[in-house]
């Protein structure tokens, strides 16, 4: 289920949005994501191939992390908020068995051209505290009266 979504007036710079905890991520989750994406690049699920490629082991797909950060945002946005833009960098590796916490924090808010925009920094964090997938997002929110 999703809620109505936040009202623009209620959002403050510095606010953290609800976290999304993912995992521990299994090889099955990784393979299921291959199917969803229709991309079966084998370094993600074949350990021998991953090691031969110089990786410490299979790695979780960047797009999986991007998708989960998107889910965190749309869970928060609910029925009335809209995701306008999001971008992430893949800076580090996460592995099967890792638990990823998707997080986001409000960095700016403004009204422009009749819409209410909120900017956020977003990132994933694993249980080792590594923020491997930092990024940003821009969303638009309804005001209290028009939700």
């Amino acid at each position: 289920m999703i809620g109505k979504g936040p009202a623009f007036e209620d959002v403050k710079v510095g606010d953290e949005i609800p976290r999304l905890v993912v995992g521990p991520v299994t090889l099955q989750d990784i393979v299921e994501w291959c199917g969803a994406e229709e991309d079966y690049l084998n370094i993600h699920y074949d350990e021998a191939v991953a090691k031969a490629a110089g990786l410490p082991g299979c790695i979780i797909q960047g797009y999986f992390k991007c998708g989960m950060l998107g889910r965190m945002l749309t869970d928060w946005l609910g029925e009335t908020g809209t995701l306008k833009k999001t971008g992430v960098s893949y800076r580090g590796m996460d592995f099967p068995g890792d638990t990823l916490t998707c997080r986001g924090r409000v960095t700016n808010k403004y009204a422009k051209g009749g819409e209410n925009y909120v900017e956020l920094e977003i990132w994933t964090e694993n249980q080792r505290g590594e923020k491997t997938t930092p990024g940003t997002a821009i969303v638009s929110l309804r005001s209290k009266s028009s939700r």
Binding site: D39, Y40, L41, G67, K85, S89
Partner: protein
């Protein structure tokens, strides 16, 4: 530049060349696989009645469903020897919702290539932009992907 890499030269020559447009229908089953893989059980994606009563007036796909377009079954070899390519980042701008049954046509082009010296030697940072247009000619999203190509370090996994 006297020692300009042939990889850089080749990448630069690709800037601005549009890929042939490719059209893909948005299948409900593909949306289902996508949301299941993310555990994303938002009723806007899978509850027809809820979605119809919402401001969307019908089911939509998650915004990041655009990730799934233009995929090719891999592994497949990168035939350009001596390279390893890394997906370094992705950015999407959303303009319209994607809905089941939509026909999305996308075309991409390389928009920028930069050369950098990295830990592993010379590397090339390319930005490819993809535009996604629905059957009514509306741009639904624009994606920008950053790829890092390392020179002379072929990745066995892609062979």
């Amino acid at each position: 530049m006297a020692d300009e890499s042939p990889i850089l030269e080749q990448l630069r020559s690709e800037i601005g060349k549009k890929s042939p447009p490719r059209s893909e229908e948005v299948e409900k089953g593909a949306i289902r696989r996508f949301v299941n893989a993310l555990g994303d059980h938002n009723p806007l994606y899978e509850d027809e009645e809820f979605a119809r009563k919402s401001r969307y007036k019908g089911e939509i796909a998650p915004p990041l469903f655009v990730i799934t377009f233009g995929r090719q079954r891999r592994p497949q070899p990168d035939t350009r020897a001596g390279r390893s390519m890394i997906n370094a980042g992705t950015e999407y701008e959303f303009f319209q919702s994607i809905r089941p049954g939509d026909m999305i046509t996308h075309t991409s082009q390389l928009v920028d290539v930069k050369e950098r010296m990295g830990r592993l030697g010379r590397m090339f940072i390319s930005i490819r932009e993809t535009r996604y247009v629905n059957q009514r000619g509306e741009t639904v999203a624009i994606g920008r992907g950053t790829t890092i190509t390392h020179e002379g370090r072929a990745m066995e996994a892609r062979k």
